[in-house]
Each structure stands twice: as structure tokens, then as C-alpha cells.
Amino acid sequence: MMSFSSPFQCLASATVEAGSSEGGFLVLQVIGVLLGVLGLIFFLGAAVGLVRFPDFYTRLHAAGKGDTLSTMLMLTGFALVTMEDFSLSSWLLLIKIMAVVFFIYLTSPTSSHALMRAAFEDDEMPITEDDIKKRNRQKGGKKS
């Protein structure tokens, strides 16, 4: 608890300073929290799709899209939340986090595309309606 007491004091002083000058500080924090929660919702969708989808390619679809967008949203939200004052160091921090966002924006679809290519060249076939019908028949046969 001793280590947690200092951030509160720092935040309190920052809010007092921002409140005395202008109210842009709280607006940035609220936007950052909203972006973070939106990213969590997207990651929830990615996780549910990763568990429940029947095929590797559909799972890759869920994970590739949801993972990329949720990571970008969460990092942008944290870049806005940690923007305490508009000094040079905080601008540098914002630019660094946006560099991570840009990097993930480039690399995550690339890696999922390479993974899809590897799976397709390894003769992993996507599921079709006939496969689902066969699976249902086998399940029904086992039950009866």
C-alpha cells in the first residue's frame, strides 16, 4: 500500500493544476477509458470466437480482426489516459505509444496472413457444409 500512495498524490496534484488552468485533462481521461473499455469488448469477441468457431480459418478470422483492433484501441486509450500534462515528455510518450499502435497495425495482419498461408499450404482445408452434415450424421448415429 505504501507504493500505491504516491500515484494518488501525484494524480491529485495534477488534477488540481489542470483544473486551475483548463478542463481538457479530464476529457482526455474519459475518452481514454471509453477507448479501453471498447477494446476490452472487442477482445471479448475475439476470445469467444476463438473458442466457439468450428474451423481454423474462422478462428483465425476472429482472432486476427478482434486482436488487432482491440490492441490498437486499448493502447490508444492508455496513451490518452497517461497524458497528464501537455509537456514535451508527455507528448513524447504519446508519440511512442502511437508508434507501438502503428507497429501492431502493420504487423498483426501480416503475421495472421502468413499463418493462413502456412496452414493452406499444409493442406488444412476449410470446413464446408458437407463436413457439418457428415458430423451431424455421425453424432446422430452415435446417439441412436
Binding site: L11, V51, F56, D67
Partner: protein, 103 residues
Amino acid sequence: MTHWFAIIMGAALFTLMIPVIYRIWVGPTCFDRILGVNVIGTKTAVLLVIIGTLFERVEMFVDFAITYALLNFVGAIVISRYLNRTISLKDMESREKEGARKR
């Protein structure tokens, strides 16, 4: 506010990583496992920024996050290049033509 937001966000991220770990554990193919490891690696970069927010040293942990994302990307590319059979597109087309002739 930032502090509690970071704690709740990290806990939710850890909770949502459990289904991904389930997919790594019971993945039918090895590509599912690689996909899960890739997702968790990307989320770890976010988690490093959250930990940096908690320690009030974001400028240091953001560098770690960049490095982790880079290593994750390189690892995914290398594993996927290692796992495929290095069939070129021409070979695949010729194989498909042969299959069509047999049919």
C-alpha cells in the same frame, strides 16, 4: 482514477486470456496453438504498458512493449515459415492440374 483503471483493465485482460489458453491447450491443429500464442503475445504488449502505468514509468515500459511486439511478430513469421512445406505456388497449381486429370 488512472491507477484503478489500469488495475481493472489488467485483471480483465488476464480473465479474457483464459479462453485463449484453452484454445492453446486443446487446439486440434498446431496452427491453432500458434494463433493463440500470437494473440497472447500481442496482449502482453498491452499488459506491459498497463504495468508501466502502475509503476509510473510508462516511458521505460513502452520500449519493452515495442520490443515484445517485434519479437512476437518475428516469432510468428518464423514459425509459420518453418511449418509450411515450402511449396511454391507453381507447384501447387501443377498438383491441382494433376488431380483434375486423375478425376
